[in-house]
């Protein structure tokens, strides 16, 4: 095997932070190379430099023995470097073939392209119909479109940014099959993930980043998940032991919840029922886009339903707005951090005010108490280890993981009676994810009721007392988490209701 891409001393600084500091490593032809690191460790900056989105301050890259300095992604693609992003850039109202045409620098005619899409997708075990509308496809299928779009360019290096965070276990297996086949054909893959078991199962080599520097390299097959995690966070990983489950009185009862989505690509909720008791953590699994956002909106009060459909401590609250519910102790943290849970250009202090106003009494009588607000923001930053220069930094300047800690911390520190969180650890590194889970568990141990909506099944199994799966707007029967296997749940998620056929008796 010969070296495909060699990275020598790459550095990149942003005001106030050195995102990458003298990074060097090499990727061999046909290898699956993992890039592992906490959030804010510099992974995104590094791949952006490789893909030509960001120019390095110092350092050089050598691709196939020649100097490689992509000025933009177009140049990177021309040199054989492609990337599949965590967030897709597809138009829902267009077909697969149309979307692929749009992204190509020199697209062949439609018929030729369709044939090519079919053959490439068959070759790599990712069957895809070029004439289907994106809007009708699942997230996993959309990812296929992105992958095929890259493969049509015959890349030598394929960069994948957290590809499995949106997939069912079965879809993950399919993807891994494809990646292994690509690797066997000589395509190198740079694989970014937080999921240690995936890296163990898939990757030939791993480069570990911490605070912008390469801190270690290893051969995953010779490591364990625990040892990898330790390299990544530079310390011993604390594994939290499940606390005993003694639920109290009913806190939140959802009965016959039905909601027609007014978004053409949204999901309608169909007769959702569950009961959440004090001290209980309910885990709601399922692939994104099956009604998760809608459930959160109904519980947060952004979306109103019939009063009786949602009861909080016995009171019908379905018609109440977000702030009325906050008064009564029902808080929530949406999935989308920027633009929903937080206002991107506003400071952390203002973002603390955003939901903290009511319960923390930050504007009694309407006038904002800036000192009290700042104190609350600082409390969140300290207690939840949010890494930021200060409370006046804009939310969008924080890395995803740090902002997530801030968002969760903001709600937890308001001592909710019921807290609903959607994808609490999405894109968050292992250490931060562990501390977020710990905080939510602690909240339940102190008597609050918690709903965790997540696609990460390991997380749900670790945290939840009871479990249900959301599939096409329907919620399966709520059952004790103990005794469920990952395989059973995975099948339920894919829409196979066998495990749940008794749910809607």
């Amino acid at each position: 095997m010969s070296t495909l891409l060699e990275i020598n001393g790459l550095s990149k600084s942003y005001p106030g932070v050195k995102a990458n500091d003298d990074i060097s490593f090499a990727i061999q032809e046909g290898e699956i190379h993992a890039l592992l690191g906490e959030n804010g460790a510099g992974k995104s900056t590094l791949v952006k430099m490789i893909y030509g989105l960001v120019k390095p301050d110092e350092g050089t890259m050598v691709l196939n023995g020649a100097a490689y300095t992509p000025a933009k992604p177009h140049a990177a693609r021309a040199s054989g470097v492609s990337m599949v992003f965590q967030h897709f850039s597809l138009f829902e109202a267009l077909t697969v073939a149309e979307n692929i045409t749009l992204g190509m620098d020199d697209a062949p005619n439609r018929k030729e392209l369709s044939a090519k899409i079919r053959s490439v997708s068959q070759d790599y075990g990712l069957p895809l119909d070029p004439d289907r509308l994106i809007g009708d496809m699942s997230v996993g299928e959309r990812q296929r479109v992105e992958i095929i779009r890259c493969l049509l360019q015959n890349p030598r290096l394929l960069i994948m940014d957290e590809p499995t965070s949106v997939l069912t276990p079965q879809e993950v297996d399919t993807l891994f099959g494809t990646l292994r086949k690509l690797s066997a054909d000589g395509v190198a893959i740079l694989y970014i993930s937080h999921k240690l078991d995936e890296i163990l199962a898939l990757c030939d080599h791993a480069t570990i980043l911490r605070m912008g520097k390469v801190v270690d390299t290893c051969t995953p097959k010779e490591e364990t998940a625990k040892s990898l995690a330790e390299m990544m966070i530079g310390g011993e990983l604390e594994i939290h032991a499940q606390t005993e489950f003694n639920p109290g009185a009913d806190a939140l009862v959802v009965k016959g919840l039905t909601l027609m989505s007014d978004d053409a690509f949204g999901t309608s909720l169909k007769n959702v029922n569950f009961t959440l008791r004090k001290g209980e953590v309910l885990g709601i699994g399922g692939v994104a886009g099956n009604g998760q956002d809608e459930i959160l909106a109904v519980l947060s009060g952004e979306e109103k339903v019939e009063a009786e459909m949602v009861r909080l401590n016995g009171e019908a609250v379905g018609q109440m707005g977000p702030n009325e519910r906050r008064v009564k102790g029902l808080l929530s943290a949406p999935e989308e951090r920027l633009g929903h849970a937080a206002a991107p250009a506003m400071s952390l202090s203002k973002n603390a005010f955003l939901t903290g106003r009511i319960r923390k009494k930050l504007a009694p009588g309407g006038v904002m108490k800036s000192r009290r607000t700042n104190r609350f923001a600082r409390e969140i930053i300290e207690k939840f280890d949010v890494r930021t220069p200060g409370i006046h930094v804009a939310a969008k300047a924080l890395s995803g993981g740090n902002l997530q800690k801030f968002v969760i911390g903001r709600e937890v520190l308001q001592s909710p009676q019921v807290l609903v969180v959607n994808q609490p650890t999405w894109g968050v590194d292992a250490a931060a994810a562990a501390s977020i889970r710990q905080a939510l568990r602690q909240l339940a141990a102190d008597g609050a009721a918690v709903i965790v909506i997540s696609q990460d099944l390991d997380e749900l199994m670790e945290m939840s007392d009871t479990f249900a799966v959301l599939s096409e707007g329907r919620l399966s029967k709520q059952q004790p988490s103990e005794g469920l296997t990952i395989e059973e749940i995975g099948l339920m998620m894919g829409g196979d209701l066998e495990g749940t056929h008794h749910a809607e008796a």
Partner: protein, 356 residues
Amino acid sequence: MLRLEQRQQSSKTMLYLTPVLAVVSTMVVGGALFLAMGINPFDAIYLLFIDPFIDSYNLSQLFVKASPLILIAMGLSIGFKAGVWNIGAEGQFVIGALSGGAVGLALWGSTGWWILPLMAVAAAIGGALWALIPAVLKIRFNANEILVSLMLVYVAENLLAQMVQGVLRNPEGMGFPESRNLARNDPTSLPDFFDPLGIDAGGVVMLLLLAGAFFLLQKHALGFQIKLTGESPRAARFAGVKPGIIIAVTLGISGAAAGLAGLFELTGAAGKLTIDFPVGYGFTAIIVAFLGRLNPIGILLAGVVLAGTYIGGENAQFLLKLPAAAVTVFQGMMLFFLLGFEILINYRVIRVRRAA
């Protein structure tokens, strides 16, 4: 082919420098325009941009023109912050003058300190109600407030024409289509406070309201909700903000401010209602709001600069035979450069070679 690409970070210094750059570019390009028209560009620029600020008579006029601009722009900026685009301040200005003026005319002959304040209240309510028409249509039917508020300007102007020929016509005016002169009637005329500077009661109220706007936006939860709605509507809903209330409140505030400005103009500089009463303050105020970066202090400065171009424009018309439209071209140019520079701050232009 050229393409715009969003910058990772936009420079803060440049953000505050753009209004200055826009003014300078307007001078340069405007100067070239004058040269092409056969007018000495230096004379013209001097008259438009320098003379209004140094000549003592002009200086007293400056504040008279600036204060309605600033007052209207202040109201508009609150809506703009929330992403509510009230383009019809000119109409609210007219309705304010009509409502307040009608009260003053109805009380003709009465005396008392309370008459003028009552007229001001009527003007603010009239302007606010006029602005609430697009608000209600937007909330109820999702009608575009830009179009509705703009169209209502023409409705308001026609209403004014009807009124000055009808019920509000001066009974002693020999049939001319105009009202009595409210500025020449003590109880309904706007008192001057600092005569040499041209600061009248309207100017004082304007400064107080400007301070109020500053407080609202910086310190009050409602101001926070307004800014949050503009910055991130979804986060605003999550924070419990009701979008309809923000639309109604911001349009109401901007309508009330424009209405008040209309009354101050009527009871001060203009004196009477005629069909020529609206002179475009409501539109120019949009430029003032943006030139002042939607910030109360910036708006104060921008209002003075644009008032200067009004005064300078009149003088230049007289002294240099500059066409009346030249001032409007100048003001338009300023907004054009401002918005253009703003794009360059947030985006960079890159050349894209077409793939073969």
